[in-house]
Subunit: 347 residues, 2 copies
DNA sequence: CAAAGTTTTGCACACGATTTCATTTTAGGG
DNA sequence: CCCTAAAATGAAATCGTGTGCAAAACTTTG
């Protein structure tokens, strides 16, 4: 009997299931909605028939009437970078478990988020948007995605405060306390005799990077270490590699390098060892930030500030789901801490 | 005037644009469809009004009637692994340029693709599905996704041939010629005096890994090198690290290690240098497969077989788009070659 | 057994677009 | 200036699903 039904466009529809199971189409809809009231035996029967016909409710049609697409958009500059790929992986995992699919978009890291992409993305009606692009301001997203309620990832140590120009009563926040880990790192380096610490930065357009740098400057001053030697970078291995060589060949060098992220730290480390023939940590110490999967690899064995990915993504997803379930809920702030992971590059 | 329009659910609809621009709703639709016939000045006017209202056509509604969702689903075991993340990045980039969004799903690497995920995914109506899971057979996907036409990624050197049980007249193929690169690698190692070569494998469930192993066995036999010493692995750094230690502590060692992928090669390399105090390449040579971003990092500087990502993803997207544009087109095969990249770990 | 309350059911409409098709407008040629 | 072909237009149908509402079926209670 199932074989007799004609399939439109290759997929079974609720109508076909209804006809095959001798019930109304509404009943099929109810069978798939856990909160609907339907006689249990009837639901079972329908679900059985549905499975036989290989039927799944069409999300597009469903989203039209419910207003929920069960899609979460991720805007990421470079999925191939270790840190971002690990974040995407963790988020996808959690979201999938909650019944949401991840919609992935790329944007250029050095550019502000462009409206073209945003309007295009809006067409897919994502229930939520997580943007890792630099220079993102909440109002930028909300202008395009009227329905979306932003979650602001804040680095309260830094100079940046969300502008209070808009009323925005319902902004949830994810506060990252970078101070703890950074201070431990600086203290450890100082303890081992570091006096001239260089800070290998990221793009100046990035909130997180700027905040990290300011924090390090503050902490060093508090510890009587003066100002860090500032070295420009862009998070990448190659740039860090070249910048480190320049620092020692053209500049005055340093006795410790604190990198804005682990990937940069790897570049610095390799430049010191393989190009400048300096020993780490004997001649120069190196510390990073993130604690990505590769940081414990023996060739690097990097001392770094752990930015707990698990904890971070979990909190983020929690905030999103809560807001989605109840758009009018009072705003909430989750806090994430950082701490130093001591390995072999400082000591 | 734009401010006066009432917005349903926070988004402007074609109706509102039509009313504001004093045209019919059909005209709005036509203005957004490049192939529709509409007077140019009228289109311009509508597009201007649309932009003012911040309107974008709803993909869900559009996909219902056109049958195209402009979504491509990616099923990946672990986005955080370098190789896979680079592939996801490249694919997303190309697809986005063609107007397709990437829908990301995770699956466990050690498990076969489960139907639950597939049925769930089907609900989103992706125009195409790219699955990197192990143990995927075309018929598995096509049973669930009736509409989809599979593209078979074939490793013609290996033992695997797609079963001819189903008629399947329209299967496009992406042939990966692994032989070239593998042979160059084996020859190079032999040239530098390697006689006892170990092959550090991947999961035996993987087509690509099995094929690589067989190919290496064949090539070694042809070169009079006998059988490789087989070491089990799972693509990961940590497993490779431990397996290499076991090979030398519990087993008889080897004078060259050929790893199934670069990440494994890193693990082997670090085990040799940091745990077994052996010099690479003087005591033991190491070669990998993939040429991921990290392979040129100075600490590894890995000699490896380049599996050209750019070329590969480009061909894949080309096949998909062609098939999407013309579902009845004759089946096509694209061919990708591999070649050795010589760096510092063999010599 | 009747009345009141609760659960289940199905009709009809809504969601936001695209696509025929018949009709009107415009353009082109002699 | 008229006739014909081509282009532009809008009304209505359609895609596959969820939901409000009123009627029906069933259950409980007095």
């Amino acid at each position: 009997m199932a074989e007799q039904t004609i399939r439109a466009r290759g997929r079974a529809t609720a109508d076909m299931v209804a006809r095959t199971a001798n019930v109304s189409r509404v009943a099929v809809s109810r069978a798939f909605n856990p909160h609907a009231s339907i006689k249990p035996e009837k639901r079972d029967h329908i679900l059985r028939v549905a499975q036989e016909l290989n039927y799944t409710p069409d999300m597009a049609a469903r989203s039209m009437v419910t207003g929920r697409s069960h899609l979460v958009a991720l805007i990421v500059p470079d999925v191939s970078s270790p840190w971002e790929s690990q974040e995407v992986d963790a988020l996808t995992s959690l979201l999938q478990a909650e019944g949401f699919a991840t919609l992935l978009f790329k944007t250029r890291r050095d550019l502000s988020l462009d409206e073209t992409l945003l309007t295009y993305m809006k067409g897919f009606n994502p229930d939520s948007v997580i943007a890792y692009a630099e220079n993102v301001r909440p109002q930028m997203l909300s202008r395009v995605l009227e329905r979306a309620v932003p979650i602001y990832i804040d680095y309260p140590d830094g100079e940046d405060q969300p502008e209070a120009t808009e009323p925005a009563p319902l902004i949830d926040r994810l506060e990252v306390l970078q101070r703890d880990g950074l201070e431990q790192a600086v203290a450890l380096m100082q303890g081992y005799g570091a006096r001239r610490i260089a800070f290998l930065g990221g793009l100046t357009s990035s909130l997180g990077a700027r905040s990290r740098q300011r924090m390090v400057e503050t902490i060093m001053a508090e510890h009587g270490l003066g100002e860090p030697i500032l070295v420009a970078g862009d998070y990448s291995y190659d740039t860090a590699y070249r910048a480190t060589i320049d620092l020692f060949r053209l500049g005055d060098g340093a006795d410790a390098i604190f990198a804005v992220n682990d990937q940069s730290a790897f570049g610095a480390l390799d430049a010191l060892r393989h190009e400048l023939s300096l020993k780490v940590p004997q001649d120069v110490m190196v510390a990073g930030f993130d604690d990505i999967n590769q940081s414990h690899w023996k060739s690097y064995n990097l001392t770094t500030v752990k930015f707990d990915l698990e904890e971070r993504t979990r909190a983020l997803v929690r905030l999103i789901l809560r807001r989605l379930k109840n758009p009018a809920a009072p705003s909430l702030t989750e806090t994430i801490s950082t701490k130093l992971v001591v390995r072999g590059t400082v000591g």
